[in-house]
Amino acid sequence: MERADGRRPGEIRIVRCERGLLSRADGSAQWTQGGTSCLASVAGPTQAPTSAKEDAERATLEVVFKPRAGLVGSTEKQYEALIRRSCEAVILAALHPRTLIQVVVQVVSDDGGVLACALNAACAALVDAAVPLRTLCAAVSMAQEAGPEGQLLLDPSAAEAAAAAAVGTFAYLPLLHSVSEEVSAAGDSISGGDLQLLTSLTRGRLTSDQLLDMVEAGRQGADRLAAFMQQAARQV
């Protein structure tokens, strides 16, 4: 079944990434997916302003998420925490102890999937600022349509997300170089296997199978986004 804008279920909207837009920031990037666009800027590493924020062994990361309109509420605080924890996983913070890296994400337009777009923008801005990163992080948003015939939609628009039974935002490390597939005595794999799921936030009701399908399909979308991000990063 076709989606409202003619896309297939597994098709992402047109992606655009502009780097180095802001002259006063150490790094900046604007990431656009269809009608959703986020502008991220990075300042740092700079000296941590207070001893409360300073860590003697690692750089401290601070994220500010500004919605397009309205005051900052608990949803924005949750997004800040998720973006911060995801970026902390890829930044090599031990190289810059006692410093502060500040990332500010401003939502320019919102047509669904804003958290995933913000995460991608933050990662691209960190690359632009030449902050040392272990690998690239790619995020996608997914929606599970309601009803027994409901399809799994990748990169839903705001209307598709509002009508869905469940939505989810997932971030992956698709390019992580698995050094070795270690398996512990209990049989679990130490590295993230094939999925490399870093961050996940879902809302609404899913069956187990639907959740597993969602994370799997999300990973495929993230692979494509990561390839695009690599291209964007390699262009000087």
Partner: protein, 254 residues
Amino acid sequence: MAAVAEQTVGKSVCPGDVLMSLPETGVVRIGGGVQQEGEVLVATKAGVVQQAKGGKLWVEARQKRYIPSPEDVVVGRITDKHSENYGVDVGGPFRALLPVLAFEGATKRNRPSLQPGDLVYCRVETAHRDLEAQLSCMDAAGKASGFAHLKGGMVVEVSTTLARSLLSRPPAAVLSALGRSLQFELAVGQNGRVWLDAPSPATVILVANAIQSSEFLSAAQQEALVAALLKGSSAAATRRQQQQQQQQQQQGDE
């Protein structure tokens, strides 16, 4: 090992790209932007892979924020004065320290007279990530070799990549083009700061504009940029006049 590394030199990489796998034996030197992960070397920044003369593999990333690293030459501004050191702002996350005795011919009795606000051209001696960077106005042999207090002039901020290209040999096209027609003094710091001084303010501004605009231009484009800027400038006209006068004088002498 050398062969594998040569394949990747000059390639554009992004964080997470594998540069090469470590050889069984031997020593591999790496610089900024490269990290060892298990048995491979991985890039941590987006940029172009470079190999220094000693075989050091590193990634040149377009970075605005300067992180001190040893053997860099920097333009610093003195922020405060203590009994043993000067505190110097080099544009990095923390201030750096310049020992009062790190000048050629300085002794306890004969200290340099630098005040907060002065500019110095110096060398980064040590830069450990947990400590403040140590600077020196002497080279390794103890000679001044150009490191000194910079009087007058102005400082222009550029990216660290542009600063590096301005310091390269052969000189960047923009500098040689400017040098043919104008008279000015220049000190390039790898911390993205360029100090300029010239007899007239118009010259300083012209040189500053030319340098800042030349970052993404090819050599031919840089020459064209300088020619366009010089056409409308009076400083160049004065210089041309002076050159003509000198030529006439020489002819008169013969």
